[in-house]
Symmetry: C2
Subunit: 401 residues, 2 copies
Amino acid sequence: MFVSHLECPKCSAKYEPEQRNQLCRCGSPLLVKYNMKKVAANMTKELVASRPPDLWRYRELLPVVKAENIVTMGEGMTPLLRLDRLGQRVGMKNLYMKDEGILPSGSFKARGAAVGVSRAKELGVKTLAMPTNGNAGGAWSLYCAKAGIKAVVVMPKDAPVIPRSECAIAGASLFLVNGLISDAGKIVAKAIAENKWYDASTLKEPYRIEGKKTMGLEIAEQLGWAMPDVLLYPAGGGVGLIGIYKAFNELKELGWITGNLPRMVAVQATGCAPIVRAWRSGATESVFWQDAHTCAFGITVPKAIGDFLVLEAVYKTNGCAVAISDEDTLKAEALMATVEGAFVCPEGAACMAAAQRLLSEGWIKPDERVVLLNTGCGIKYPETVHCDPPLLQPGDTLTVC
Amino acid sequence: MFVSHLECPKCSAKYEPEQRNQLCRCGSPLLVKYNMKKVAANMTKELVASRPPDLWRYRELLPVVKAENIVTMGEGMTPLLRLDRLGQRVGMKNLYMKDEGILPSGSFKARGAAVGVSRAKELGVKTLAMPTNGNAGGAWSLYCAKAGIKAVVVMPKDAPVIPRSECAIAGASLFLVNGLISDAGKIVAKAIAENKWYDASTLKEPYRIEGKKTMGLEIAEQLGWAMPDVLLYPAGGGVGLIGIYKAFNELKELGWITGNLPRMVAVQATGCAPIVRAWRSGATESVFWQDAHTCAFGITVPKAIGDFLVLEAVYKTNGCAVAISDEDTLKAEALMATVEGAFVCPEGAACMAAAQRLLSEGWIKPDERVVLLNTGCGIKYPETVHCDPPLLQPGDTLTVC
């Protein structure tokens, strides 16, 4: 056990890790703190390199105590791809994409689910509940099935439909709501209060973020324990961005990386940009975004409980926040597919559009090392692609223009 | 360059690898042969282990000559998962699944596309064409986009729809046909004859199989260079099974594995079972299957050009061929999701159903090491899952039965 305690980033209250903790009594999310001396004494770069290519290679920086509680489907060590053709096209010499579509359930949510569900199992959880914009619900339902935990999931009726199948086939209790994730969240909160279930909502348990953190650990390892200059992340709840920032700081504390952290960019949609609005005014928290709407459904989060942590990561790394129109997102999605063969999710495509914008504004320099986070595979979003192929009869001759 | 030549497994004719070869003049597919002494002198288990976790770690056993021609999206080293919960449920003590959903484009077709397209690029191909049941078309379209090769794809109108989006967003020329893959194949053959395109149809170029082969190399490496007892594979065109068999034989020749190869099982659907029918009668080739139909669309192949190679692998390893009903396939799909959290494709689920059948018949022993090939992720087949969740209004209370 390398965890020392749970700590509130707002009021600094400390909690025992062996109890089921949700939010701090002050209402803030809790973060996992490690005994870094013990970690340093037990984990080396060579040891990590010798382990299988999944996120459990960083087990000393993860909160699961007993190996028997690990619920894994081989998730992690997704490719960090150089996008040389695309970089050449848009004028970036060192463009990379971390492809989180190459994970069980086809999205980065598998990381949070693997670690979050493993730890929930370790804590003896029998039933958990969560609101979701789709992918997290799918991933948690599947990992819960493997763990023998009952999952209750509420998602907006307008969320992409494929994650519904994941929840259904995994045997989760799935509900739709005629509203946004914030409405789903209220329904879940009420049900949890009544039924005493474990609350697996974004940042309302401290372990999902530890799974997401491994994106940062992997990027560092894949770059030879060096840092990129810029990292672009599609921020809905923002857990991944907070997690990557936490990972980089832990690696600094271990002395595995040195120098500046990358400038972290929170990418949102013009139809739902509470973090961008807050960042523009220099605020440390966001305000609920009314009438949220974007084709990048995963980042339709009107008010994130961890907004202050996202903004802290952006401010402390001299990053920024950018809002992208759906039109630009869909253009970037097509560009990435036709030039790089990468069928990414709209949220990932928004990061590419943001990189192009920041390059044109001079905020990103052409030779800087830039990493895009593609948070999921495009095959979960067939509705974002126009497709109307001609129908032939057997024996027909085809004509290609 | 470790390739020595191309060889016909039917008439033993040899061909130069530096030319664009399609079928042998006798009509058979050609197989890639390597200079195994040179491979043995250059590749060691330790060297392989030190390389990144993708299929290019076996580059000495792959046909691409120059590294600059490699078109990669980080594909390979998919998880080989122990299914202990499921094994316990059905009475198998050593049940594994090779999860080929964890690949770019969400299916094992990415392997064939990565190697096939890389080699096509190396040979200077500008346009290629192929019939497909969906996933191969999606994968080849995306890899071709990255390679700057024009792809022409024809698929049955009843094939799953998500791969259409992959072809479309990659910029391929996509056509549907009001028939089966055999009808698509005839249309493609005619167009290729007229336009002098490269024929990327199953086994009509010799390199796709080399990509598929890496499934076998990985299984061997992941089992510590040992063999399972039984390997179940969903056979449509059968390239993967032929490839895995080829891989194991190459590893034997290198001395990296010893003893018996696993008994290889060709799994088909009762609605399209030409290989099973041939195997039952002891034939070495199959006969065209009339009125083919199954929910496992990827194996709706009425007559495979490599049928004799599939049957050879089955006969020589003392394997068998099994036909599974759609009902049993869909039951197995649900079982794998609820017990293991694995949302697999119907083709993968059919392998699980076949394992259960063979266990009940005593053909598989309870303690044998059994590997199922799951050839793709279930998220590409949402239509196989029944899902009708209740719709709540904001503020509603949810009730879980």
